[in-house]
Symmetry: C2
Subunit: 336 residues, 2 copies
Amino acid sequence: MEKQTVTIYDVAHKANVSMATVSRVVNGNSNVKPNTRNKVLDVINQLKYHPNAVARGLASKKTTTVGVIIPDVTDMYFASLARGIDDIAAMYKYNIILANSDGKEGKEIHVLNTLLAKQVDGIIFMGNNITDKLRKQFQSTSVPIVLAGSVDIKETEPSINIDYIKAVSEAVNDLVQNGNQKIAFISGPLNQDINSKYRLKGYRYALSKNHITYDQQLVYGIKHSDDLYKVGEKLAQSLIDNHITAAIISDDELAVGVLNGMKAHNVKIPQDFEIITSNDTKLTRMVRPQLSSITQPLYDIGAVAMRLLTKIMDNKKIDDKNILLHYRLVKRDSTK
Amino acid sequence: MEKQTVTIYDVAHKANVSMATVSRVVNGNSNVKPNTRNKVLDVINQLKYHPNAVARGLASKKTTTVGVIIPDVTDMYFASLARGIDDIAAMYKYNIILANSDGKEGKEIHVLNTLLAKQVDGIIFMGNNITDKLRKQFQSTSVPIVLAGSVDIKETEPSINIDYIKAVSEAVNDLVQNGNQKIAFISGPLNQDINSKYRLKGYRYALSKNHITYDQQLVYGIKHSDDLYKVGEKLAQSLIDNHITAAIISDDELAVGVLNGMKAHNVKIPQDFEIITSNDTKLTRMVRPQLSSITQPLYDIGAVAMRLLTKIMDNKKIDDKNILLHYRLVKRDSTK
DNA sequence: TTGAAAGCGCTAACAT
DNA sequence: ATGTTAGCGCTTTCAA
């Protein structure tokens, strides 16, 4: 007793019209007499007809689905962007195919290709580093791609970000104003552009502005790890040994780790050690003391990225292709 | 200069074979002479041919994509399941269309139907409550559905869960053993079966086992809210006013809220107030004191759900359709 | 305003 | 081992 699928043909037949007409009413084409429209609509309801999106996709060359490449859904930062993406996608009647990449180039490329094979109308890419190989892949397809919360130093693809350089620089400057001289820079791997070419640059800029000499020793580029929290926790000892009194940290989980690690060593936050973190995920408000942070409009980064993508997919011309959204510095209790 | 798509026909033509043969090599059919296989493979590489998954889907009636309905990707509990789902999906060469529902019946049904229109081969549903309407929708399609981390009191669909009744009951029993008589039950809305028919049942069972009379006053059914954390924080006052000394809480964010709320009122955890939470997301380890919790194998719930779904999609017969995975009680620092 | 018909790119019998 | 061919269910000219 297999479920017999009802097709556009069945509807056309029963309603005594052509498939073309049924197609027109289904797609809201106005060139249909109200009378016939209603007749067709009736039959559609009777037969419980549901258009087959795959057939439609083949015929029209549009699937109304976009691919979303994400390092890890479980990462609050990217999950927040993803939520913004999906909401706007839904608003524009798109669905998203979500694929985790673990931020590994190999997986990213693999998944990009399967997404393209599935004929997605567009792609939103999130990742910590755009390698040359990846950039080449992006350029070899005509499917529009937008980067969300991810920098491409060459800016070959449209992107939505905040100004990481300025944000970090401001944060570090604040830390200096609070009297800190030995400020750690703690981020993900330094071979990732976002860390070395943006955040670290902001850090160095703020230091030089304040006539503090840059000290390599204070720069912690964390190798990628499953559990950034744990890494942060263990980092505390080294921070203490180096007589560091403050840190700008690029990831909230990492920052929470450092926070707890320091507390475990009886270091008082913020009296003896100040922390500013970078992503302002809800985590920052759940720990004590609450973490001061660069605020990013996470949801909006995703939302704006998706909106931009729809524009490009519709061949509308766009003014800015590399958009920087506003950030702020939120002082909570991990800074003086 | 539009990108000319190369089709199976182009490959067949250039390789001097039929489309069928190309199709065979692409799909790894063994009925091809190594010689011709290589010839075809060569042409595929030269032409950079990539099979069109949409056309394939239409012809074969399989899309190798499954729909995943999730309340909110931003919720650590569901995000963890989603990660398990995607990993196993990828392993079986499936992609997932992820759709947020906010746990609203209307959205759930809507999104279910668009997923079906897209001809997904299967669906994994996550949600806090299976209403009659939803159950009816599930039953009206022949597309296999598996529930992940979501109970259906009628067990009409296959599902992966833990034994919430036993888990909560054990947790509450522990709390009693620690000397607590006034134990709060704090969960999501009580009109959701998972709360009223499972968790609350476990709570009541443990109480009666210990000859403690059930007190309605101690039951907090939190209406759905955007920010459970905040709600938890505010709950503290009421908890104190009611002279409650312990709580079993069904959501980690909520539990963190309660924890911080109590601390803000100078209540010592766990000396004056004990907390056991339920989902064991990484949050539990990031707060201080760390939260004791029912441990759920979150990733595995998703992974097992997806594996089960692949079996059903392959028409393999399955032994258990309502699977309960193991849970444990992890004592951390929010209990004595 | 409506219909006829040619694909969209592929798979899956069925032949050979 | 390989080829032929008829769809899969829809959109989209083009004509009427």
